[in-house]
């Protein structure tokens, strides 16, 4: 049986905030040259660096033509450790505990109803990370000092609080911002815990995020929410307005999984609802966090400018460049995540086997889909099953990326991976036999009915570029200005259009708070792999996608935005609010200056079959 590989990592004592006396902290602070703050009047001391803070490197100049050479497939796939619960002191409170150093926020909504039963502690701080044994350690920013951040594993029905401490350097120079906000993508969480892009806060403070871990539709389904609304594969990441690309590139992201009595994480046991998909985490349920980076000759990350990150020439999975993963002859569940910054991956397996797609953006599909290649857009998640039982011990299978990255609108050279497997993303080595109690049934779940009569409004979002400014419906993102208000408890149809066909850019559009269903793409019904719930909707140049969304349980500010991290940093976002009234918004003119129909009241909500044949009419 393959053992989950644990990465070598820095001391994480500060994760639990223990063992550092104030005097030691002062000494360490002084030794490391960090700012130590005395706030004795307030009667609290700040969490301190318990380990030495690596100095910030300067980015090499001029731009390297390529990263240092690394030998592929010489390091095992790291599995991020799980985050252990930790008793918080002071205990989390409904209102922001400013006196103890909490950053400002609105009161937690429905706090008494979902009192946290478990709490966690996370510290954002600089660390050194080895991306490849052929390269020296790289300076990163990471949750708890490990990259990717620890995986948080939670259960539906058990509310939690995660306390984020910001210990990024106060004397920071270069790319990235030491202010930050963490978004749980795509938690059904209240606005104040959603990591809104404008709600960033700086080093020395902490902030509690309340994750009630309820099913969407909790209020309308008797008995604690509708398990058919479950979403299971999440990721958390920095969402700091205008610095999301650089802060994520520096390493600020990790994964978050939710289990319940259907998807238990175990292959045996549980009640009659249990699916028994391949499990457990780290054994047969494996996260794969894909990113690409470019490195300087000294092994430090290269940034094209102090606010821009390059298309990487190193394929990185869970923080390792081109790793191998030893598998047994049985089924595995891989949770694929594209953590950006911009690359669109298209995965295939070197032996031509299809992926068995079981979940899109963390939502189980009603039926698994066999698919030979997977297009994974930034921030999307795909849960796939790969079965190695047909392989012989000693076999190797490669995961290939067959999509070139476009630089200067021309594809980067990407040798045919079938000829040159050294360009593969990772390698699976079949090394042993193992019992397999897992089952992947033909029916994974049944969705609640999609009732288009619930639709009260059809809202149009035109994604455009005008005079070098990204605009949505002709408007520029302002975190203090909602451009639409939806009524809690209602449903709407949202039409998303990519208005810049000539750019060649696909916008992976992400909607916070709720999972949606694609009603149509360019007037046609969605293909099977898009038939499930999602929260990232890739809109290719010139395309138009219709989405059904409900807005439930929470109030406050949320966003719809392009999840190409560079585009969202360039203001390709809209703030929309959940309130008690529907606004018929938005801008009176679209980006071309023509009258913008924006949101229209919908006296006769269309039925599904009509929508498929009415392309363009709603405009």
């Amino acid at each position: 049986m393959p053992k989950p590989t644990r990465r070598k990592r820095n001391d994480t004592a500060s994760q639990s905030g223990d063992g550092v006396s104030r005097r030691t902290a002062l000494k360490l602070g002084a030794a490391a040259g960090t700012l130590t703050v005395l706030t004795s009047k307030k009667g609290f001391s700040l969490p301190m660096f318990a380990d030495t803070v690596p100095p910030e490197p300067t980015v090499c100049s001029p731009q390297p033509t390529h990263s240092p050479e690394t030998t592929p497939f010489v390091q095992a796939l790291p599995i991020p450790p799980t985050l252990r619960p930790f008793k918080l002191n002071p205990a989390p409170t409904k209102s922001a505990n400013l006196a103890a150093g909490e950053a400002p926020r609105a009161d937690h909504q429905r706090w008494e109803e979902f009192l946290p039963q478990q709490t966690y502690d996370m510290t954002l701080k600089p660390a050194l990370h080895t991306f490849h044994p052929d390269m020296p350690p790289t300076y990163v920013w990471a949750y708890n000092g490990i990259y990717p951040g620890p995986t948080i594993i939670n259960q539906y029905g058990i509310p939690v609080v995660v306390r984020f401490h910001n210990q990024l350097p106060v004397d920071h120079t270069g790319f990235g911002s030491n202010t930050h906000t963490t978004h749980l993508h795509n938690g059904h969480t209240a606005s104040e815990s959603d990591g809104f892009a404008g709600d960033f806060w700086g080093p020395g403070f902490f902030k509690d995020h309340h994750y009630p871990n309820i099913y969407a539709g909790f209020d309308t389904f008797p008995g604690g929410g509708d398990p058919r609304e479950a979403m299971r594969t999440f990721w958390y990441h920095d969402h700091r307005h205008s610095f999301t690309a650089t802060n994520n590139y520096r390493g600020l992201n990790g994964m978050f999984l939710l289990y319940d009595n259907v998807d238990t994480g175990f292959e045996t046991g549980g009640d009659h609802n249990a699916l028994h998909l391949p499990g457990q985490y780290g054994l047969y349920d494996i996260p794969l966090n894909f990113t690409d980076k470019k490195f300087c000759p000294d092994g430090q990350m290269f940034a094209t400018a102090p606010d821009a990150v390059p298309a990487g020439d190193k394929f990185i999975v869970n923080g390792a460049i081109q790793p191998f993963f030893q598998v047994a002859r049985r089924k595995y569940r891989f949770r694929m995540l594209n953590s950006g910054p911009a690359r669109i991956w298209t995965f295939t397996m070197s032996d031509g086997r299809p992926f068995t797609l079981i979940a899109t953006d963390g939502n189980l599909l009603e039926h698994p889909v066999q698919i030979p290649s997977l297009e994974l857009h930034v921030s999307s998640r795909y849960d796939v099953i790969l079965d190695f039982s047909g392989n012989q011990i000693g076999d190797s299978v490669y995961l290939l990326n067959i999509a070139p990255q476009f630089v200067n609108n021309a594809p980067e050279p990407l040798p045919d991976p079938n000829v040159d497997v050294t360009k593969a993303v990772m390698r699976f080595d079949v090394v042993s036999d193992a019992a397999d109690h897992s089952v992947v049934p033909d029916t994974l779940c049944q969705y609640p009915d999609l009732n288009l009569n619930e639709v009260v409004t059809t809202r149009i979002w035109n994604f455009d570029l005008v005079n070098g400014q990204f605009k949505i419906n002709g408007l520029i993102f302002d975190p203090d200005r909602p451009d639409a208000t939806v009524k809690q408890g209602t449903a709407e149809t949202w039409i998303i259009r990519n208005k810049l066909p000539a750019s060649g850019w696909t916008h992976p559009v992400h909607i916070h708070l709720e999972e949606g269903r694609i009603l149509s793409r360019n007037g046609a019904p969605p293909p099977p792999e898009e038939s499930g719930r999602r929260d990232v909707y890739p809109i290719r140049p010139g395309e138009e996608v219709h989405i059904f969304l409900r807005f439930r349980e929470w109030f406050g500010k949320y966003m719809i935005h392009c999840h190409n991290l560079g585009h969202e940093d360039n203001f390709m976002l809209v703030r929309w609010d959940v309130g008690t009234q529907t606004s018929l918004v938005t801008s009176p003119v679209d980006s071309a200056g023509n009258p913008n129909p924006g949101a229209q009241p919908n006296p006769n909500p269309p039925v599904l079959s009509e929508l498929f044949t009415r392309k363009g009419e709603l405009a």
């Binding site: 606010d307 070098g468 400014q469 109030f555």
Partner: protein, 216 residues
């Protein structure tokens, strides 16, 4: 090569911030201000400063008037910091049309105050600078001058930190973006700001509930 060029090339520049990318990145191209004064791009305009840089041309009727108007409002909001520790530069995209005199009239007509320079130079230098500061990596956009009129680049050379803001954003947003590249304020100052922000959040939430926008 004149003597000054020789010196800046050879001697270590002690006044240059350690984190800065320096003239190797920004170039030291000689530009001319709207007062017809020659200036070196890095040494005189960028080095050790906090700067807002955007691109315009005086004949641009579609988006530039609003951009320049917004920047004038932002200059007002930034107050006497402009010219002291914050500097604003509007660089022409059409040097063949915009000589210093044309730019001087443009600056006057938009109410630009001291601390805000309008710059022209030779086309080669200006294109190099534009590609350094505002490159799309997309030929359709990089060679379309009108795709360069909408953003203001904000640079803190001392910290080597950059950000940007659409020039059509609210002037206060431009001012906010400037603060994103400023040095982190002392903890006690930020703690006081937290109390102010909290008071604003509480007020907004109360108002939303009173309006009935949120259910209490």
């Amino acid at each position: 090569m004149n003597r000054r060029d020789l010196l800046t090339c050879v001697l270590p520049d002690k006044s240059r911030p350690g984190a800065s990318m320096g003239p190797e990145f920004y170039t030291n191209a000689v530009l001319h201000t709207h007062e017809n004064k020659p200036v070196r791009f890095y040494d005189d305009l960028i080095k050790g400063k906090l700067t807002l840089i955007n691109f315009i041309y005086t004949g641009c009727m579609k988006s530039c008037p609003r951009s320049t108007g917004n920047l004038a409002k932002a200059q007002k909001l930034l107050g006497d910091r402009v010219g002291r520790d914050i500097f604003m530069y509007s660089i022409t995209l059409k040097p063949e049309e915009d000589d210093p005199e044309t730019l001087r009239d443009y600056a006057r007509s938009h109410g630009a105050r001291p601390g805000w320079l309008f710059l022209t130079g030779n086309e080669y230098d200006l294109t190099t600078i534009r590609f350094k500061l505002a490159r799309w990596d997309h030929p359709m956009l990089d060679f379309d001058l009108d795709q360069h009129t909408g953003m203001v680049r904000i640079i803190n050379d001392t910290l080597n930190q950059w950000t940007m803001c659409p020039t059509h954003a609210a002037p206060q947003q431009i001012v906010d973006a400037v603060s994103w590249v400023e040095p982190t304020k002392p903890f006690a100052v930020r703690l006081r700001e937290n109390y102010k922000t909290q008071a604003r959040i509480d007020r907004e939430t109360r108002d939303a509930k009173a309006r009935g926008a949120w259910r209490a």
